[in-house]
Amino acid sequence: MRVNFTVNGRQQEADDVWEGESLLYVLRERMGLPGSKNACEQGECGSCTVRLDGVPVCACLVAAGQVEGREVVTVEGLADYAKHREDAHPGGGCASGACGTSLDSAKRWQSKPTDGQTGEAVELSPIQQAFIDAGAVQCGFCTPGLLVAADELLENTPSPSDQDIREALSGNLCRCTGYEKILDAVRLAAARQGEAVQS
């Protein structure tokens, strides 16, 4: 079957989709967006977390046919999504409009953190930068899901308590870090977000 939906703000079409296929499979194998990770395929680990109409969900538990006409944001579009939110909708979010990420650039997306020496332009969302600065990434497999979940937390709860953070990330498993640095990263991003609002 054919499925039409918006990915990172741009209309996309997937053909020859098997009826039992998950959104995760469509994203990774048909659209060339492997940022959302495939680990447990049963909603246990959160590695495949994406936004579906703004709401964080496990892409492995969404049937491809269920996303017809809906909006999906993946980690590849997170930087643009966060930038657009900052520019056009302070304090809010938006997944649609002319402001999305093209599939091509999403496929080619690579993290380019601020380089201390060259001062190269930042192409990361604040939460991504905070994960790097706090050392919250080790093997990196859980990172995309955590980034999408944490970004949504900070969108809706700008000054989260530790309890809020733990709860928001409770569906994302990390086997490397022991979570402490991940919590640090979210606190850091929240603090920077607060400073930006004040200044």
Binding site: G20, E41, V55, V57, C60, V62, S170, G171, L173
Partner: protein, 296 residues
């Protein structure tokens, strides 16, 4: 496999009548796992996501009509006063991602003894609104669970909503698991005080082939509370009564040994949860009289 995408409830009923083997899918929590792991290859998947009314609820005089697909996160956010037991139970479901998609209709459709909503539904008292092209019927929750992962639905029926009695007294929910998130219950216990009818109802999860009520424990407690005038005088319930209630709740279980726990442990834990949740709800009843807010 065919993917059926009805745009309205009527279309969904017609599709289910035409293809009784069609598997309804809404939040995907159970169905997608079975497909991902090749445990199931349904001939037809019946997507219910386009039917907006399934995600709506109405608060009436006596009952809440909860659409089958209202996500657990909405129950937690919006129905904590009316359905405190179910709101507490919802908070123990899996993770935020799952709670954003899953709803009570799926729990009922799967009818696993470990479904988190069941003890709260049994304790609050409710009816399941099942519909087919032949008509609508309300199935009392006590008659809904018919066996391990079996329910009273006919092959052409779909769950449209659940009519849950609004809380008229404190309710509590307790679940045993190895951590707070992403846990299938080792066992669970729900309790609801109904001061208007001077009754207490209970629900037990994961400790019998189906979700069950601890009926003997309820009968004993109802008689003891009446006899002692506890509903009027609001006194602390005598420890001997609480102990007997817990023992009867434990005795209501018919559990198995499995990877999550032993039958012996489940019986023991259900007794403990019965004692504790009765204590919590009764303190609420005595204290603020009618504190309806569930605590997280």
């Amino acid at each position: 496999m065919d993917f059926l995408r009805p745009a309205s409830w009527e279309e969904a009923l017609a599709a289910k009548a035409e293809h009784p083997t069609a598997v309804p899918i809404a939040g995907g929590t159970d169905v997608m796992v079975e497909i991902n792991f090749d445990h199931r290859r349904p001939e037809y998947l019946l997507d219910l996501n386009r039917i907006g009314e399934l995600s709506e609820w109405e608060v009436g005089q006596e009952k809440v009509r909860l659409g089958a697909s209202v996500p657990y996160s909405s129950i937690m956010d919006h129905l904590r006063a009316e359905l405190p037991g179910l709101a507490l139970a919802s908070h123990t479901v899996a993770s935020p991602q799952i709670r954003n998609r899953g709803g009570v209709g799926g729990n009922l459709g799967t009818a696993s003894p470990a479904g988190d909503a069941h003890p709260a539904l049994l304790a609050a008292d409710c009816e399941v609104e099942a519909e087919s092209v032949r008509g609508t019927r309300l199935i009392p929750i006590d008659a809904f669970y018919t066996g391990v992962k079996r329910n009273a639905l006919e092959p052409d029926e779909l769950i449209r909503a659940v009519h849950i009695k609004k809380a008229d007294g404190p309710q509590q929910y307790s679940k045993v698991g190895t951590r707070n998130a992403m846990v299938i219950a080792v066992c669970a216990f729900g309790i609801a005080l109904h001061p208007e009818t001077r009754t207490v109802r209970t629900g037990i999860g994961s400790a019998a082939p189906t979700p069950i009520r601890a009926k003997e424990a309820e009968d004993f407690l109802n008689a003891a509370l009446e006899e002692g005038g506890f509903w009027e005088n609001g006194k602390i319930i005598t420890p001997a009564i609480v102990k007997q209630f817990a023992a009867l709740a434990s005795g209501a279980c018919n559990p198995i040994d499995d990877v999550r726990g032993t039958a012996k442990y489940r019986r023991h834990a259900v007794g403990i949860m019965a004692r504790r949740t009765l204590g919590w709800t009764w303190e609420q009843y005595r204290g603020a009289g009618r504190t309806l807010e569930g605590a997280a």
